[in-house]
Symmetry: C2
Subunit: 288 residues, 2 copies
């Protein structure tokens, strides 16, 4: 998942009273999709996903058709697999490919792995090669392993980058917190799979160093990276034991393949039907 | 858990080859506790906890006796409940109270809740009231709820604090990443339970604001705080849905009680015997 919870898209986010929204959505009064959209625009992706989940299939398709690619991508990332497959299946192939391109590669791979082989290949073929390639790489790993869960787009810096450059990457509002909390230092190339992985630097450490220091001189080398076959329980133990929110995944040659973030682990520790289990209310608000 | 994974305690951390350490520790050759300690000093708390877990009860008590209070506290936080109770039970009451004071209040509360009522009260009575009070408050909440899992020591700022002050708090190396990733803005008093909770600010947002801006002017108010009774599944959903690593817990009057961090949630999602399940190897290193 790439969507940051606290990200604001141009200006204020309105806090919408949940009961008002569900009542509104579930009754499906005479409002057209456009009217709904005006309200939905102000919801976080997870909350809009929850509303969408409770709409009729027809209305869900209308709303999906009316959302921008980026927004639909963010919302799909928060929906159960079934809904994702249903919504994607109703889009024209070209648009489906555009939306998959806008999704985080790990989420796009998850979705594509739910599709019949032929449809998966057709959509991958329609995507830009630069967008399809990382997704293909992820699809090669077993589900529920570090390789299958990782994002191939962590913050990667060369050792001669400065601390100031690192902080400029960290503060990017499009990066969710777990991914922004650590930068990974690798020899070139700095796109995954990278050159040799050297180590990581935590954001708190970056804040303690002078801006002109080179990241190569402050890199932390003593946390061992994970192989892509690491299982979910081992991964969970690793994050819990070291109290970290993101972990490097490297291949046998020591090249960085990606990073597994704690939110992807949480997602997979929850039962598949957790969105159902909490009923109509958005997560955590039951008792609020 | 308060111990930061990547925190360095004065100087370099040596990467110790795991096989060397376990072989060394398990065989229990003629080295005294002092010799072991010289090696152990360079391990992360989670790794030292793992070594300790595999020592004999007698040797475990010797090592515990020789560790400084702060270090023993960090290590206890990473041990299974049984080991924690055993080790604490072999300390003199006065020292046990000192070590409990050095533990994160949520971990101290977890440990105390495993003890017989009388022993729990005796140890709480020996602790400094300023240290015992937050622990007593945590003990009042049900296990496995937001109230029982939260730390009462998140970063709390008054609205008239500056962004520069906030960043100075964030970069503190004694704070683990999940706790440092967000600051909470409250009216005075700014110790928990605080005055009215106003909202939170993410570290990435802090990095985008001018240092002299007041936190009250950049506070994010649209993520609803959780009531202390929030259950573990609801809590997990909440963190996963919003991709955040820490969540505010408030009482009915809207005062901040503490924050639940993602590592505490992970700890409780793992089966009780996960440390056993992964055998002798430290987490995540099985396949490395």
């Amino acid at each position: 998942a790439r969507g940051g919870a606290l990200r604001r898209r141009g200006g204020e986010t309105l806090t919408v009273d949940w009961e008002a929204v569900t009542g509104f959505a579930l009754e499906e009064q005479q409002q057209g999709a456009a009217n709904l959209l005006a309200t939905f625009d102000q919801l976080r992706p997870a909350d809009l996903a929850n509303v969408l989940h409770h709409l009729s299939e027809k209305r869900r398709a209308e709303v999906a058709a009316a959302l921008h690619d980026d927004r639909l991508a963010d919302v799909l990332e928060e929906l159960p697999d079934d809904d994702q497959v249903e919504i994607l299946g109703k889009l024209k192939d070209e648009r489906a490919a555009d939306v998959l391109e806008a999704m985080a590669p790990d989420d796009a791979a998850d979705l594509l792995s739910e599709l019949p082989e032929e449809e998966k290949e057709r959509l991958l073929g329609l995507m830009q090669p630069t967008e399809a390639d990382p997704v293909r790489r992820l699809l090669a790993y077993e589900e529920g392993t570090a390789g299958g869960l990782m994002t191939p787009e962590p913050i990667v810096l060369r050792p001669d980058a400065s601390v100031a450059e690192a902080l400029a990457r960290v503060r990017n509002e499009d990066l969710p917190a777990p991914l922004a909390a650590q930068v990974y230092v690798c020899r070139p190339p700095d796109e995954t799979p990278t050159g040799k992985y050297l180590g990581l630097i935590h954001f708190q450490r970056l804040l303690r160093e002078p801006p002109f220091a080179l990241v190569g001189s402050v890199v932390d080398t003593d946390l061992r990276p994970l192989p892509p076959g690491t299982t979910l329980p081992a991964l969970t133990s690793y994050l819990a034991a070291y109290n970290i929110v993101s972990a490097p995944v490297v291949d046998e040659g020591g090249h960085l393949l990606g990073a597994v973030t704690v939110d992807d682990v949480l997602d997979h520790l929850l039962p598949d039907d957790w969105r159902e289990a909490r009923g109509g209310a958005p997560p955590g608000l039951e008792g609020a």
